[in-house]
Symmetry: C2
Subunit: 446 residues, 2 copies
């Protein structure tokens, strides 16, 4: 292991690709949010100047081709099957490649797998690996702030597609991708980006159905354009739907949420609450029955020796997060319930006072507390007479098993009927009995 | 309202039907269990002397008639439908009548309803109201002890049917039914028990199919004997299955359990964990989507003016019971997790010592604690360099939002890496930051 000293020296040595945030000040986020200027808001007078024409063209022309093309090309079942298959191939290029491998380094991929994922990902036509990951790392680093390039706090439409249609109002917060600048695959993709995009986005899906079963047009329309639309909006859903729909079983500080439906439309990226908590985990779903084909793909690659060092966040901490969220919910229940009076809030009376007072109203002493059972006389499952008999007496032994071993519910209810404490407190040995079962376990705040 | 004084006087006045347990000593249960003799255990040498011949005959002859009869009587669909209908009528006689009305007084029934339930319940051939309720009240009062006439601790077979086949080894614990001795309906049923049993158990189910569509034999076999078998074992399942199968969402002190399957075979008596906690509640299922036709029947009767004063246990206490059980489960999770070291368990070091030690290993100070991040350098999603940069420095501001607003999970993980406390403790204003989110809510025991 390197010593911390050489560690620091190291940082300066690798001069060409120094992490961009190496000299970041300790107050970077607040300072930037406060001092950096935003572009003016978009309105009717300026929207045409603020449109990002390249991505807008891609995102409107593709669906147009798909819809218009569908009127001309009849759908053959072979082509349909291939389109679905190619949807998964290029989708995995994004989810297993762009996202879990390059953005989050959640596992190591062998060269063949890296090239496969880079090509497949290019076929999803979502920009270069480096551009995509830079934005995505900023998204994680500044989630729900204005430094997040697709901040969910701007609404569903913005995080789904708006952020690509108009020029960003603000530069995304700094995020380091120097590791990617060093990567041979990433550089290779960058160099051949245009031919790769044409080949993987439209060439391959046109040629395979064309050469194999003569359906060039169908391949172009369905496996090319239509499939691409689905892949696009599938990825976009991770930024919109996954920050909107579902539960927050791991943390509710930010917008990301877990939902099966989102998982279904995003090849398993729908357990997004988990993912934002544990971004370096190669899994998004932790349960075997949850839908995460990207995880399954990575697992199979690892079995085949194509992937290694699959990162998993310590289970102990995952379960801790869940526990906290469950306690948070139960604490709301706890806060909304009525609880018995504490001995500090009750008058203290002597045994003689108790006897005198119980001539006037039905009072029963149990475990050092005096209870007014007027409202319960006719409700008592053990019968009115057993309560009546114990008025003005100490019913501790009878209540706790001597006559009937009352349930926790009975003990809880008893405590709600407290009206006073007996001077001298609980008789020795009954201190435990003075705490109703519902107060033996409580959620406390620290 | 009566004064407690007249209350006590009252108890003595009603001389003919004084509650049997009015003079019960405060240590009755333990004393009886210790001093009362049991009959000898049953073995090969004495079983024929210990059989309860009457109930054994009923419980073996009925299924014999049903099975043999099925070979002779072909099943008409009208008769089949009527048999199912009559199953529910006589079943409700037990569940809504014997059980929830007379055993538990969970609502008040008008005279017509009382007579209907008494007749229907007689058709289920399970003994008189008084005998049944006396046993059932003892079952609730001494659940899972030897004073329980069908104690589930003796096993599934015993609680299902064994306790009726052989003579009880011990007298059931005392249970008061003086309220029933006063009831006109109960006395009426007692008086005409034999004709009523023959009429309702076999007469009516034979005559209705016979007179209406000429199927006397089918009526006798299917609506009479076979239906009776099902009603018998349906009721028996409340004592066996309901004390064996399912969850304990309200209390786990005793054997009763909640299960949908038990509910289906017992006309809604399967939420037995709830029932034993809140026996005077006219409901067994509290959620609308749970199967409790007995509750629905009572509700409808109440809407028709046939029933009133439907008892409901305070919702506050019901939810308290659930909360406790959920906390109990979560506490097991909490106990099985690893938690960070407390400042009391860590060495206290000075800033200078920290600096010196961090030359040798990667130490980072955050919120007054020193953390060894050696194992995390290459795992850090923010990159190795951001950790390296902060070795030997105070990273509190950077960690808590200055560079990155870490998630709860990150904070929890950080706390697990504590190795020392800085002398002087947390700098003013960061005390809150020293508690990881997972420790802000904890289940405490009192
Ligand atoms: C004053 C406070 C009391 C309260 C709030 C109370 C409450 C209850 C409740 C809720 C039940 C039914 C649920 C369960 O099984 O635990 C019950 C049953 C019973 N209680 Fe009490 N009780 C009180 C006092 C007593 C006393 C002093 C006696 C005896 C001297 C007694 C004797 C019984 C018996 C015998 C039953 C069983 C009835 C049955 O299940 O058939 N109770 N009580
Ligand atoms: C020494 C203890 C530290 C631990 C245990 C830790 C842990 C983590 C964890 C678990 C994450 C990913 C999950 C999340 O979003 O919170 C993360 C992300 C990050 N951490 Fe740390 N961190 C530490 C120190 C630091 C320091 C001192 C800095 C900055 C100077 C830093 C900067 C970052 C950044 C920028 C990310 C975001 C990466 C991304 O999502 O792309 N961390 N850290
Ligand atoms: Fe996200
Ligand atoms: Fe991500
Ligand atoms: Fe029971
Ligand atoms: Fe019951």
């Amino acid at each position: 292991p390197l010593s911390p000293k050489s560690e620091k020296a190291d940082l300066k040595k690798s001069d060409d690709v120094v992490p961009i945030d190496i000299n970041i000040p300790d107050n970077y986020v607040q300072h930037t949010l406060k001092t950096q200027k935003e572009l003016p808001p978009i309105g009717w007078h300026n929207w045409w100047k603020e449109i990002s024409w390249v991505s807008t063209t891609v995102l409107t022309v593709t669906p147009t081709i798909a819809i218009v093309g569908a009127f001309y090309a009849s759908l053959q079942w072979k082509t349909a099957l291939f389109a679905v298959f190619y949807y998964f191939v290029t989708g995995l290029g994004i989810t297993a490649g762009y996202h879990r491998l390059w953005s989050h380094r959640s596992y190591n991929a062998s060269k063949p797998l890296e090239y496969f994922l880079a090509m497949a990902g290019t076929g999803a036509v979502q920009g270069s690996i480096k551009w995509w990951c830079r934005g995505h790392r900023a998204h994680h680093r500044y989630t729900d702030t204005d430094l997040d390039p697709y901040g969910a706090h701007h609404g569903l439409l913005w995080s789904h597609i708006g952020w690509m249609i108009v020029k960003p109002r603000r530069k995304p917060g700094v995020a380091d991708v120097s590791d990617l600048s060093k990567s041979a695959v990433v550089k290779w993709q960058h160099r051949f980006y245009l031919p790769l995009i044409i080949g993987m986005g439209f060439g391959v899906p046109t040629l395979i159905p064309g050469l194999l079963w003569g359906d060039y047009l169908g391949g172009f329309v369905y496996a090319g354009a239509m499939r691409l639309c689905f892949v696009h909006h599938s990825t976009f859903c991770v930024n919109s739907l996954a920050h909107y729909l579902g539960e927050t079983p791991f943390d509710d500080k930010h917008t990301p949420r877990d939902h099966m439906v989102t998982a279904f439309v995003t090849i398993g990226e729908g357990y997004h609450n988990f993912h934002h908590q544990f971004p370096m985990d190669y899994r998004n779903a932790i349960k075997w029955y949850q839908y995460d084909p990207t995880k399954w793909f990575i697992s199979v690659c690892s079995m085949l020796g194509l992937a290694s060092h699959l990162k998993v966040f310590p289970d102990n901490e995952v379960r801790k997060g869940q526990l906290t969220m469950q306690l948070k919910k139960l604490r709301r229940t706890q806060d909304n319930l009525l609880w018995p009076s504490d001995s500090n809030d009750l008058p203290i009376i002597s045994w003689e006072e108790y006897l005198k007072e119980s001539e006037k109203r039905p009072l029963i002493a149990v475990a050092g507390f005096i209870h007014d059972v007027a409202s319960f006389m006719d409700e008592h499952p053990g019968g009115r007479h057993l309560l009546a008999k114990n008025i003005g007496r100490d019913a501790t032994t009878a209540f706790f098993g001597g006559v009937y071993d009352h349930s926790n519910a009975a003990h809880n209810l008893l405590a709600m009927k407290r009206v006073a404490v007996l001077r001298g407190g609980q008789p020795h040995g009954t201190e435990e009995l003075a705490i109703p079962p519902s107060q033996k376990l409580r959620i406390a705040r620290y």
